[in-house]
């Protein structure tokens, strides 16, 4: 049952965090000091912390310590809204950093869009933040014919907006796939978290309003920063 010590510890930590969240300013005390306070080992203490991490209450910034997690971002994958839009709509601050711009082939993207494997793409890799916490990294694979000078002009702005304003593409999701994952060492490093941290992988194939393939999107989210919510039509 729940007589394991680390599970009791989990509960004690939960209330401790509740009470001291304000004065700690979001960052938990050092593991060694917490372990001492509860008269246990770091190993056991970490087991309890990992439990709370799994619940999404706290998270780790790699080698930097444990932090209290903010509320999850609510995301409706069936709505065709960009990241910036729905982050701001929830009263929070979006930010984007561009990590890479290059031309490359990428068979998975090609397949998802119904194009030949050797189809070249414009590849944009970027990291996105909510209130200055990095919550996801993503790779975008854009069909070059639809946005020729993209690699030269792209600098972190909204891609949906850019495609609409500059090239007149009105985008719509075609298919979305979501799976839980353990973040790869690379993804983890880019998100400043420990390798193997739990994540959510979201892939989207995106067409324009004439059903032409425009881009393929591979997102890797921190598992605790997202709440998927779908409101279905029919109503009212």
């Amino acid at each position: 049952m729940s007589d394991a010590y680390y599970l009791q510890l989990t509960e004690q930590l939960r209330t401790l965090i509740d009470q001291n969240a304000a004065q700690w300013e979001g960052k938990l005390p050092a593991e060694r000091s917490l372990a001492e306070r509860f008269a246990t080992t770091r190993v056991t203490l970490r087991q309890a912390l990992s439990q709370l991490e799994g619940e999404g209450l706290i998270h780790r910034s790699n080698r930097r310590g444990w932090f209290i997690s903010p509320a999850r971002l609510v995301y409706d994958p069936t709505r065709d809204a960009g990241f910036n839009d729905y982050v701001r709509a929830q009263g929070r601050q979006p930010r984007t950093a561009v990590l890479k711009l290059e031309a490359r082939v990428h068979p998975p993207a090609a397949r998802a869009l119904g194009l030949p494997d050797d189809q070249p793409f414009h590849h944009i890799r970027r990291r996105r933040y909510v209130d200055d916490r990095a919550v996801l990294v993503e790779s975008l694979w854009v069909v070059p014919e639809r946005a020729p000078e993209l690699l030269e002009i792209y600098a972190g702005q909204s891609l949906w907006g850019l495609l609409r304003e500059r090239w007149g593409h009105f985008l719509a999701n075609r298919s979305i796939r979501m799976v839980s994952e353990a973040l790869s060492p690379m993804d983890a490093e880019e998100l400043l978290v420990a390798p193997g941290t739990a994540g959510l992988n979201i892939n989207r194939a995106i067409l324009d309003d004439q059903q032409r393939p425009i881009e393929y999107d591979e997102e890797h989210w921190l598992h605790d920063s997202l709440c998927i919510s779908v409101e279905l039509s029919g109503q009212q």
Copy 2:
């Protein structure tokens, strides 16, 4: 970066599992024997196994050992199809065990359906299997007026089918919410996994074709048994 020994171990285990999956019949050797084979401690070995668990390659049956995970079930939450339907549609075998039948109030369900907090419900708790692996437990909260004798007659069959055939309700999802979670001790026990195992919590509010509230559904899935896939309309 990936010079941590447990990450190398993870890779070695990955190929080892690939090669021996058949002869092991899905169950990995004992931790002690694996630890010995790789000349390391059980602690480190378990860290590597946990990594693969996070990826969804293997899973634990509580105190029973490590098992190779079957392919994920593909699930489209926007489709109004029952569990049995889409499991069979993927060539797999669904099964349901009823854990509890009772009458109770449940404010979260009431709120999601727009009913008063003291609204009583018929509560059905059941565990569902795919190919004899328990993959989820769920609690159903059904509005009694819509299915009066439900608690007396329910015995594990398809609830959607029952509501349609006996009471003439044609169900449709209204809202769906998905969050990653750590399974509660109770959920974990009912799924025969260790407490704190990663899970996916899916809640659905379900109405009939006249927009009358029918039921509220709280599902707790093993994180590795599900692949959410949404195909959006508009096309073809």
